[in-house]
């Protein structure tokens, strides 16, 4: 486990991978949820 701290690259890559995937996943989910809300609001307004 020491090595992950000894090699900044490796820590960086791991964090990039995890957070990048998480960000994109949340992004897609959020986009869908936002559109869901936006269509619902329009329906209520009508």
């Amino acid at each position: 486990m020491d090595e992950i701290w000894g090699y900044p690259h490796r820590l960086g890559i791991t964090l990039f991978l995890i957070f990048g995937t998480a960000l994109l996943t949340v992004g897609f989910i959020g986009f869908t949820a936002w559109l869901e809300q936006s269509f619902k609001k329009e329906k209520i307004k009508k």
């Binding site: 090595e3 090699y7 490796r10 791991t14 995937t21 994109l24 996943t25 992004g27 897609f28 869908t32």
Partner: protein, 269 residues
């Protein structure tokens, strides 16, 4: 049927309580505008960024790095963590098959024809995770891989070779051998394949991942299983576990230097 009668028929078919409008001009003008915008964008891009043309193809000089087109860079990045038969053949095939079966394994009647996350959480989350993983691999392949396929941050000097840090990669089998002090002689030999105790444990580990993955939702989320039924449940869990497994194996390699989970003379996972 006479044309005017046909039209009346068609018009009456759609004259339902729903609010309908004529396609001409309402839909057609939206299409026209989007075509104009798209053409203008293409023209603009064509003028400011011409298509690349490198030197004549030569089998003698290999460019460094050799990169596939951007839409395949995700798969090429997987080559770092998986053997070519997995990264280049099996995983893409699984992705395609997994995509194809989606409509047949999704029994949820909600969400047909409108955006919703709240009514189909597992579907949207699972698909988004797959997309996220696919796109992040492309991002990594395009913007962080340089000479010798080493990792280059945007601020690094891309013209300098990175010193290959002597990272000792070790197979999971070896880890088990050293951890439990297991003998190196094979228990059983099938032709070229000498199965040691450690090797068996790696198989248990690998298949156990799937076994646990299949049983845990069955026990804890029984209504999820009931909604899907046996076949659909197994298909969904198999592809979901494999997709998560890809990411897990990448993380295992990055954090614990594990190269192969399972080793046989014919293939290595």
């Amino acid at each position: 049927m006479e044309i005017s009668a046909l039209i009346k028929n068609e018009a009456e078919k759609t004259r339902s309580p729903e609010d309908t409008v004529l396609v001409w001009p309402n839909l057609v003008y939206i299409e026209l505008i989007s075509i104009l915008v798209a053409t203008a964008s293409l023209l603009f891009l064509s003028i400011i960024s011409p298509a690349p043309l490198e030197e004549l193809a030569s089998a003698d000089t290999t460019p460094n790095p050799t990169k596939a087109p951007w839409y395949f860079l995700g798969l090429q990045e997987l080559l770092v963590y998986f053997d070519p038969w997995l990264a280049g053949v099996v995983l893409p095939t699984m992705i395609i098959i997994g995509l194809i079966i989606i409509p047949y394994v999704d029994p949820n009647p909600n969400g047909k024809g409108y955006y919703t996350f709240s009514e189909r959480k597992f579907s949207v989350a699972g698909f988004s995770f797959g997309l996220g993983l696919w796109y992040i691999l492309i991002v990594i392949g395009v913007w962080t891989r340089g000479l010798d396929w080493s990792w280059y941050w945007p601020w690094s000097d891309w013209h300098v070779h990175m010193s290959v840090t002597a990272v000792k990669l070790v197979d999971l089998e070896l880890i088990f051998e050293n951890m439990f002090g297991l003998p190196k002689e094979p228990l059983v030999t099938l032709g070229r394949y000498g199965i040691t105790v450690a090797n068996l444990i790696t198989w248990v580990f690998f298949l156990g991942y799937y076994a646990v993955g299949f049983t845990v939702p069955f026990l804890l989320f029984r209504n999820f299983y009931n909604k899907l039924g046996l076949i659909r449940y197994n298909l969904v869990m198999f592809f979901f576990l494999s997709m998560s497994g890809v990411m897990l194996k990448m993380l295992l390699r990055l954090t614990f230097n594990i190269k192969y989970l399972v080793v046989t003379p014919w293939f290595k996972i």
